[in-house]
Symmetry: C2
Subunit: 238 residues, 2 copies
């Protein structure tokens, strides 16, 4: 576990600052996970109050991003860290950006849920969409867990899930198109579902980006544009 690296800093105060930032990132991650959970629930149930809570929570998420970003910059300016510590801080800045985007996407899903709440009738793809949502939530949770443990061993499994997400996404989109063709009166309502599914697919991508940032932090190498196989090799190799 690379976690031990945190204990190796010369200054106890610096340790404390890093630990504080890590905890704030995990708080932010927990908030975003909750946003996603509530957004998907409001999508399924049409619960407008719940959707409004997601939108409200986004202010907290945004405020945390600004706060953590500022703290990272201050540490960079005052402590001038190098090597792993520098990469850790740069990674935090990138990870919180991904989390902020996931929060925005959850907010988008909540807004679509509000728009759809007054439309009658349900769509047929709920089971598939719920399954896809569970996959995406799992990816995000495990990516945050990997960040918490500062370990990348789970990364290939997490990014591998994105292939399943993409497959389910394509299948759902095809079904939604058929649904629209069969009855054009469904189009506006079905488009809201389509935007929701698209937002979920993008959340899966951002969970992968978090993993890529973690590999950079641990290994010191950018893997953003490598193939899945090349990335897995990096994780295992030296």
């Amino acid at each position: 576990m690379e976690n031990s690296k945190i204990g190796q800093h010369i200054s106890a105060q610096f340790n404390k600052e890093i630990e504080d930032i890590r905890n704030k990132v995990l708080t932010m991650g927990g908030l975003v996970e909750q946003q996603l959970e509530l957004a998907m629930q409001s999508f399924s149930t049409g619960d407008i109050e719940m959707a409004e809570l997601v939108i409200k929570q986004d202010n907290q998420v945004d405020a945390l991003e600004v706060e953590i970003d500022r703290e990272c910059t201050q540490i960079l300016a005052l402590r001038q860290p190098a090597a792993f510590d520098l990469r850790l801080l740069l990674t935090v800045i990138k990870v919180i950006n991904e989390l902020e985007i996931v929060g925005d996407l959850a907010e988008r899903i909540a807004k679509l849920a509000i728009q759809s709440a007054d439309s009658d009738g349900r769509i047929d793809q709920y089971y598939e969409i719920q399954h896809m949502a569970n996959l995406v939530k799992d990816m995000l949770h495990r990516a945050l867990d990997a960040f918490a443990r500062m370990s990348i061993e789970d990364v290939p499994a997490i990014t591998g899930l994105d292939d399943n997400v993409d497959r389910e996404y394509s299948s759902i989109i095809r079904q939604l198109i058929t649904h629209m063709m069969e009855d054009p009166r469904n189009i506006t309502r079905t488009l809201n579902v389509l935007w929701t599914v698209r937002a979920m697919e993008r959340i899966g991508d951002h969970a992968c980006y978090i993993c890529e940032h973690l590999i950079y932090m641990v290994k010191g190498e950018a893997v953003r544009h490598l193939s899945r196989e090349e990335m897995a090799k990096k994780v295992k190799g030296g």
Copy 2:
């Protein structure tokens, strides 16, 4: 013009490094602008070769992002800059991330153009879409120009354009929905147009994000989640 700040560094070598990074960001920006231009042309004309060029160019854009990011990190580690220089480097890391995303969105438009190339018939909203594309291209160009001059005076005008983009986006989406309802055989083809318009709308957002990063660089304050009016005040005020 804040450009003079670049001349104030104690080390001539450091100056050179910063200037080199700035030039690379502008090269990357030029490539992304070209991608967007060609992607929109391939969307209008159905020119598959042009669309394939956009997809190919994305590798160059990705490689430049990795290279510039690495150089910024090296300078942070070796020079341990503070104040404006630190903000400049952190801003570059964020700006190239926005550019990389814009490149991905241009690639997405090119892929949609290839998918649509063999469908017969044209859609009626080309004029509006071209107009929206021109707005978005203008926003991106002016954001890069503001970065090149390290000046934020044009920022309120640039971000103001995004309101026009959002208005045109909503209007086009409404027209496309009507189009699908009138003839369900149009749905698959029209959805490709809808995804294209959505990608353009997001490019406008990322041009705004570049502007927000510039304000942070020049003023040292995060403005990401402020309203347009509050942001304009920050640009003018001290």
